[in-house]
């Protein structure tokens, strides 16, 4: 009786019946590539892990030049399970970016961006940008030596962008150099601006997915009737998420997140400064670009080049007109794969050197 009353009370206010119908009606197409549909859910799960562990870290992290490093050290060494939460946050971030990249690659190859899903793609690219922003801003927060110098180098690249570079540099650093002001800005960016942006973008992305359903690649035949999202697909999602959780726990226990010596702005830069792995490609490319390319500064050319690459990525649905008309466009896919493989090669090279 009570259960029925509660349900009726909720029904009156939330229209649960409609939500239930929506869930029952949602299906996932079946074909030989449908395994890639799990990547979106996996990215969402890892993002949730990031939010959860991030909130726990927020309980003890203290931003500030004199407190950041100390508080991270305390989290790793003294707070019960602090090491576990921090290590999971760290590993989950890495895997999250990897999964987002694979999710985008599969969407690209399956032409999931074609009409009418242009906005799904655009919000996906925006979410990818936000994910990179999370990585870049989060890297500085422990205020250790490598993070400090890697951020100095990273923000200097932003400063090389013609016309607006210096303004961007000042905006990011909160001054001429990486200081406590930079840490304060990156902290605000990491825990307020980016999460808010991510939630908005993800909501739009999921709304689009809900509205248009999963895209079936052109020329691919469906094998059997679509799989109901609930509970069939969600159960399979859960299997993947549980395995991901087991992997994260193992990585955290066996390879816990490290913390270098506290940043000293007056010390000379240590050897082997590297950004996070997902910035290896631009990092390596910038190292290879000569100081001057014609009349232009090499760093500016690199920064503008990668900016244009990002723009091209966002404009994919509008550039691939054949796919927009429902036709096959293997040349466009091949061009995308070549660019992707080049970025992978750069990352691999930077990893080894």
């Amino acid at each position: 009786m009570t259960r029925v009353a509660v349900r009726a009370w909720l029904e009156e206010r939330l229209d649960l019946e409609a939500a239930s119908h929506l869930l029952e009606a949602k299906v996932v197409p079946r074909h030989r590539y449908s395994v890639f549909y799990y990547l979106g859910g996996m990215a969402l799960f890892l993002f949730a892990i990031q939010l959860g562990t991030g909130l726990l870290l927020l309980l003890y992290y203290e931003p500030g030049v004199s407190t950041a490093h100390e508080s991270v050290k305390r989290i790793s060494g003294e707070i019960p399970f602090g090491w576990l939460v921090r290590s999971i946050h760290r590993w989950s971030a890495d895997i999250f970016i990897g999964v987002v990249v694979l999710h985008m690659l599969s969407a690209f190859l399956m032409k999931a961006y074609r009409r009418p899903r242009e906005l799904t793609w655009l919000t996906g690219v925006a979410a990818f940008g936000i994910a990179l922003g999370f990585g870049f801003s989060g890297y500085l927060l422990p205020w250790d030596e490598i993070a400090f110098f890697a951020t100095s180098v990273g923000t200097a690249v932003a400063g090389a962008v013609p016309f607006v570079g210096q303004a961007m540099l000042q905006l990011l650093r909160g001054g001429d150099d990486v200081t406590g002001s930079t840490l304060a800005r990156f902290f605000a960016l990491h825990v307020v601006v980016l999460p808010f942006g991510a939630l908005v973008v993800l909501a739009l992305h999921l709304l689009q997915v809900q509205k248009h359903g999963m895209s079936v690649p052109p020329g691919v035949e469906e094998s059997g009737r679509p799989r109901p999202f609930f509970p069939d697909f969600l159960l399979r999602d859960l299997v993947g998420w549980t395995l991901a959780l087991a992997l994260l726990a193992a990585l955290a226990a066996l390879l816990p997140a490290e913390l270098g010596p506290k940043a000293d702005p007056f010390a000379s830069a240590p050897a082997g400064i590297k950004p996070e792995w997902y910035f290896y490609a631009p990092f390596q490319q910038l190292k290879w670009i000569p100081s001057y390319v014609g009349p232009f500064e090499g760093e500016a050319v690199g920064a503008v080049g990668f900016g244009l690459l990002g723009l091209l990525l966002a404009l994919v649905p509008f550039l691939d007109r054949r796919a927009g008309r429902g036709e096959r466009s293997p040349a466009f896919s091949a061009a995308g794969v070549v660019v992707f493989l080049y970025l992978v090669a750069l990352t691999w090279y930077a990893w080894l050197h």
Binding site: S76, G77, D232, L243, A249, A253, L254
Partner: protein
């Protein structure tokens, strides 16, 4: 006409002025002699505006050698030992003059030299004894802070041993094995092998201008310049009093002087390498005390080593051991303090420090064991969590298949 006369008069005035100005700078010495300062490359005296005649006397403006090097004009070709000191001291002891040239230089060198063994012998007429130029050079004198100066800290051992060697000192009544002993000593090893600029060289113990062997009662002060706490403890101890009464030099009696060897805990007691055996008999009251002290320090160092090994192991396993590693420094410090406290010859003081160190080692070892325990706990936790998660994943997969079949 008047203008022409004025012009000629002005030109004549210029010429006369030029002649007059050229005269003091004229140096006929280098007309015949190769300029030794030119060969030396750098010389503080030339930089200060001095020339040959300022040291050698004579008349540098005279063209003829007889007039230029006229003894009546104070010319001295090669001053004798005592004269060298007086010659250099003529300027260097002149406070007003040195204040103008270099107010930071001391002006007591000559006074000190007169009190030194070198100075005493020089003024007695010994010509083989060290004078100013023996250490500073004659032409091409450099500042003592210049590493190229023979009197610089980096070269002083080489300079002193230039004379204090068996060959030069043949027939002299003083020992000539100082360099060999110093080279083998802990000071010499630091100074000569490890190039430690803080390690003492000859002049740090003997002085420089007033160089002399430190007397029996000065040894504590000399060694105490660096080993201040040991010197203070020794002076205040019963041994300090006994040594003074017996006229036995402190410090060097146990540690030697030129051949000061690296200390070790084996020096404590009457054992084979024990320093106490010189005065104490095995089994006497003091020997028994040193045996207890030795046991204390051995036990402390052993427990610190075991704790360090546990910390290293925990760190290798990925645990954060920064804090206990930092805390352990107090234990190592206790060992150093205990070794210093030996110079007080007070067993209670020594054992108090050993007890402090032992407590630190015990606490840090507990922390290290806790870290190792935490590591085991994490492993067990990982195994249990992984097992549960995998089991849950398997159940979910089975359920999904079951639904699929329906």
């Amino acid at each position: 006409m008047v203008r022409l006369a004025s012009l000629i008069a002005f030109a004549a005035l210029l010429l006369v002025h030029h002649e007059a100005a050229a005269e003091p700078g004229k140096d006929s010495c280098v007309g015949c002699h190769d300029d030794p300062l030119e060969e030396a490359g750098a010389d503080v005296h030339r930089a200060a505006g001095l020339s040959c005649v300022d040291c050698h006397g004579g008349d540098s403006s005279a063209e003829e050698p007889e007039r230029a090097m006229d003894p009546r004009k104070g010319f001295i070709a090669k001053p004798k030992a005592g004269a060298v000191a007086r010659l250099c001291g003529g300027c260097h002891s002149d406070i007003e003059r040195m204040r103008v040239i270099n107010p930071r230089l001391p002006t007591d060198q000559l006074a000190q030299y007169r009190t030194s063994q070198h100075g005493k012998r020089a003024f007695e007429g010994n010509q083989r004894v060290a004078t100013c130029v023996s250490c500073h050079g004659n032409h091409g004198v450099r500042h003592v802070l210049d590493p190229a100066s023979p009197a610089s800290k980096g070269r002083i051992v080489e300079t002193c041993s230039g004379c204090h060697n068996p060959e030069y000192m043949k027939g002299a009544s003083i020992p000539t094995d100082q360099l060999a002993k110093y080279t083998a000593s802990v000071h010499g090893q630091r100074r000569l092998k490890e190039r430690d600029p803080g390690a003492p060289a000859c002049s740090d113990c003997h002085g420089n201008h007033g160089a002399a062997p430190p007397g029996v009662y000065a040894v504590t002060h000399v060694c105490g310049k660096c080993h201040a706490t040991q010197a203070e403890l020794f002076e205040a101890s019963s041994h300090g009093e006994h040594f003074r009464e017996a006229g036995v030099p402190p410090c060097t009696t146990c540690h030697n002087h030129h051949d000061v060897l690296a200390t070790s805990d084996e020096m404590l007691g009457t054992g084979r390498r024990g320093a106490c055996a010189m005065c104490h008999e095995p089994g006497d009251r003091c020997d028994l005390a040193t045996i207890r002290m030795r046991q204390g320090i051995d036990k402390l160092t052993a427990s610190l080593e075991a704790t360090t090994a546990s910390l290293v192991r925990a760190e290798r396993l990925g645990m954060d051991v920064e804090r206990p590693t930092y805390d352990l420094a107090a234990g190592s410090e206790a060992v150093v303090r205990a070794r210093v406290a030996i110079h007080s010859f007070s067993e209670p003081e020594f054992q108090k420090i050993i007890a402090e160190g032992t407590e630190v080692a015990r606490e840090v070892d507990m922390a290290a064991q806790a870290k190792l325990g935490e590591y085991r706990y994490r492993r067990q936790g990982l195994a249990i969590a992984s097992g549960m998660l995998l089991l849950f994943a398997a159940l979910l997969a089975m359920k999904a298949r079951q639904i699929e079949r329906k």
